[in-house]
């Protein structure tokens, strides 16, 4: 169980990471980037893909594994039309209907890499925890299929998914990203402890999914 204070603290952690990521993204795209207040979602595995248009929605996904003092996963989801807009913005041409070329895929992955790195740098700075991220992996497929892998990693511990979600939007060219931080179960405790909000509700036992 999480107290309201812990949830707020996790939201704030998300906010700090996302703020830095939004700055990096706006520098990269030379445009103003809006972000929403991060959402801390504790929902059934099956509901996760609903925020990005449902399990069958065609999306680009960029996945990175976090290791270090905390471990977890980062998943950046860009719905198909927005991914096309982003490629068009960066490379000045529309991808073909068959999907992304190696060059286009590489551009998307690099943007994902920059966002995730800025997010993690801010998080690491704030919590004084060391973290590093893996080389990104890319998939262009159904949202449910893309989520299944990070959720499976989480599934060993919980019966519900725990994720910190931020949405980045660039209005003029209609570019839109969903950023998901999915910390491993034990790492939530470490994160909360690092910012001094660990005294409520934990009692040293693992969360049992019934939140």
């Amino acid at each position: 169980m999480f107290s309201d204070m812990e949830l707020d603290a996790l939201k704030e952690i998300g906010n700090i990471g996302a703020g830095n990521a939004a700055t990096a993204l706006s520098l990269l795209l030379s445009n103003k980037i809006n972000m929403n207040v991060p959402r801390v979602a504790i929902i059934s595995f099956d509901d996760v893909s609903n925020s990005v248009g449902g399990p069958e929605n065609l999306v680009a996904g960029i996945f990175m594994r976090i290791t270090g003092d905390i471990s977890g996963n980062i998943l950046i989801i860009i719905p198909k039309p927005n991914a096309y807009n982003l490629v068009n913005y960066l490379l000045k041409h529309q991808p073909g209907e068959a999907g992304f070329s190696a060059m286009e895929e590489s551009a998307l992955v690099e943007v994902g890499n920059i966002i995730a790195s800025s997010y993690i740098v801010a998080l690491s700075d704030f919590t004084k925890l060391s973290m590093k991220i893996s080389v990104p992996g890319f998939a262009y497929d159904m949202a449910g299929a893309i989520f299944s892998f990070p959720l499976s990693l989480y599934g060993y511990m919980g019966d519900t998914a725990f994720l910190i979600e931020t949405e980045f939007t660039e209005g003029i060219d209609d570019i839109n990203f969903h950023f998901f931080l999915i910390p491993d179960d034990e790492s939530l405790k470490v994160l909360l402890k690092a910012i001094g909000v660990s005294s409520f509700g934990w009692n040293g036992q693992s969360r049992n999914g019934g939140i």
């Binding site: 059934s44 099956d46 992996g137 299929a145 892998f149």
Partner: protein, 162 residues
Amino acid sequence: MVGTVRVGMAEYKVAKSPAILVSLGLGSCVGVALYEPTKKIGGLAHVMLPDSSLSGKKDFNPGKFADTAIDMMIQDMVKIGVDPKRLTGKIAGGAQMFQIKSDSSIMQIGRRNVEAVKSKLALLNIKILSEDVEGNYGRTIEFNCETGELTIRTIGHGIKKI
């Protein structure tokens, strides 16, 4: 669609003809479809992980793991009069969605799910009639309880009936 029953991630459901059991967007998860042809009763499990012994806690949702989900689903089928000896199976899913170099076996979760499902079904003497597994793409599957046919839809890899 009338008679469509959605089976979400880490769930299993049992239905009678003319129902169609559907799982949307399987990635590393494996869909296990069991069928009793004379009574036209089908069950579909959307398995996330290979083995319940790896669970971090004792009180878990049995639908998540290959071994427990299949057991529970068969129990539900037996309750409505299915003879487990008559069951046959079809499986789909178990993709590896992301290709990342990693020193641990976590990236191979799809393949491990497929292996776990196969060995569980072998243990129960349930024959796998057909399969469409692994690869690097997502699948939506529809299991028709009238015909026992499993339809697999993908993005960019066509439609298959097994």
